[in-house]
Every structure is written in structure tokens, then in C-alpha cells.
Symmetry: C3
């Protein structure tokens, strides 16, 4: 289990090194890792962690799924945009494990995306399965 | 295998309890479950099952990928919007299994999304793998 | 490992038969296959390979995430649209394996999506895990 604290309503946290540590502890040399967020207003993706790109992503998501756009769910809980963005990005990623390490490409990072923060404790489950 | 009957062109069906039953039958205590739809005009996601939110999701998808928008594929089969929405949401989810149960967060449900119904039989494959 | 050469900036390549061959070589009869691209400007999806539909998908993605729309990342590398489209579609797919074969539905194909080509060598990792 990885725990993340977030400081803003939306935010991207690079969790690659924590996931790599979970893979190491598992002892698995060849297989796959699933990284799974247990929340409905956060997402996970694999991509480049470049700061400008992550701001561009936030701009695109704000245009495609704007906040406070008259959503029915906002009457109960003012975060329909967070849920819908989470659905579009996805709440888990799966990464191959080779030679005991995440088999990431040169520019790939495991990115946790907060969509309804700040929150003191976001929980991400990691399971590593051997072939 | 889970079988779902749908009643409308678009519709969300909560299949959490059926998936949980497949996990129980597998006998797996620690591992992961893959839930996979074998259709190209349906999707799967993990999120909250609140009725208003699911209507908001339908509204957003109708705005982002409207029906009958002059698609080439509609000449063959009038459902290009259904395919493209399915690609954006995704056709499988993976959930960790811990202590013999789906390791879902408090608000998480496994949701099957019909995008080109009604259909008498939609088939969803569940595989449960032990660590 | 599957290697793909692409000829255009955006392009869809059907890799179903190569993935099926990896499943055969693994000897796994019952389990799952993960198909994973190691690049940050490519995606993978499971859907129909109909030519008109794939052009419709390209049109929708160009409308939702247009090229050269003043992205910050474009100052470094003129491909922010490629990264963001990859995040929306996803960089891996998981497919059940039954009786030694990918358990695909009638119309399902494994599709590799180039978003920043042409490239001489795109690398896709396949891992097959037995139940």
C-alpha cells in the first residue's frame, strides 16, 4: 500500500519510486504489477512527468469536463467533474515486471492524479504477480 | 462469465456482486481479478454508482462524442459513437483481491456500460489470478 | 516483445496475430495477457478494426485534443497532443486467455495506436500469466 498526501484540488504525484520499492519487496523477477487507486475521484496513468505537459493535461481536462457545469451529482457532492475525469483517465495501471524491475520505457513514470483534493491520505494498492 | 441484459441504448449496470461471486468461487485469497467485456460497443469502469453521476457521465459523453455526427462508420452500422466512447472509457478493469474479496474502496462499484443497446446478452469474462 | 514500424504521424496497426503468437509461445492455457507499450506517445485499445471507424476515432481525437493548441510542452517537444491522447486512450490492455488463445469477442482486435510517428521501432511488451 502506498499513501499519498495532496495539497491542491488537482495535482499530479510521481509515485514511480514507491511502486518500484513494492516490486523489489515482492521478490518477483518476471511478471506484472497492478497499481490501483481505491478512490473514485483520483486516477492513475503512465506517461512523462514533464511539468508543462502535466499543466497542459489539466487544461485539456478542464475544457473537456469543466467544473460546476450544472451536474446532477453536484447537488450531493460538488465533484462530478472529478469523478468523470477519473473515469476517462482510469483508476489503475498495469506494468510488466522484468528482471525484478518495472519494465518502463525511457520517459515513462507512474503518475497518481488527484482530482478532488487536497486530501491527507490517498491509498494506492500494489500487487505483484509472478509469471 | 457474467451475462447482462440491457433495456436502453445507453445504460449502466452495477455488476459488483456478480464479480464478487466469481472471486469467491475461484478460491483465490490474494491476487487480482480482471473483468473484461467481449463487445466493442460496451465499456467497464470502477466508480461510484450514484444515479445523478451516471446521468452526468452520459451527458458528458454525448457532448464529447455525439451520436450521428457524420461518422464514416455510420454508413455500415449506425454506432460509431458507441465504439469511440467505449475506447475512451476502456473495455476492462483490473481489481486487486485481498482476503478473498475485491479490494474496493468505500464508494467503488464495478460498472458495466452499455453504449449500443438494448441487447439480450452481453458477456463479461472474469479471471482471478493468485499471487 | 513485438516491434512495430509506423509510416504516418497517426496510424492504427492491428497487432492481434503477433499477440496471439506470443500467447501460443508462452504455453499458457488459462490466464491473462498484458499488452503494454513502452512509449508515451502511443496507445493500445481493443475494438473493431474497421477502416472508417479508425478514421472517425482520429477525427474525434483531433477535435478533443487538437494539435498545436498552444500547449506548454510544445515548446520542448511539439507533441503535447500525442501525450494527452495517449493518456485518454491508455497505454496497456489486458485480455483473458482461455484454451491457449486470446479470449476476444467476434469483432475485437488488439490495436496499436501511433500518435507521434512515423517511427522505425515502437516496442510492445507482452506478458502471459497462468491462473
Amino acid at each position: 500500500m502506498i499513501e499519498v498526501r495532496t495539497s491542491n484540488r488537482t495535482e499530479v504525484v510521481d509515485i514511480t519510486s514507491q511502486v518500484q520499492e513494492e516490486v523489489r519487496k515482492s521478490g518477483v523477477r518476471d511478471g506484472l504489477a497492478i497499481i490501483y487507486t481505491r478512490h473514485t475521484t483520483t486516477a492513475l496513468t503512465i506517461n512523462e512527468g514533464e511539468k508543462g505537459l502535466l499543466e497542459d493535461l489539466e487544461d485539456v481536462m478542464s475544457r473537456l469536463v469543466p467544473r460546476n457545469a450544472g451536474y446532477r451529482h453536484d447537488i450531493m457532492d460538488n465533484n462530478a467533474d472529478s469523478h468523470i475525469r477519473a473515469i476517462l483517465i482510469g483508476n489503475s495501471v498495469v506494468v510488466p515486471v522484468t528482471d525484478g524491475r518495472l519494465d518502463l520505457g525511457t520517459w515513462q513514470r507512474v503518475l497518481f492524479i488527484e482530482l478532488d483534493g487536497p486530501r491527507s491520505s490517498r491509498k494506492i494498492v500494489v500487487k505483484v504477480i509472478a509469471i
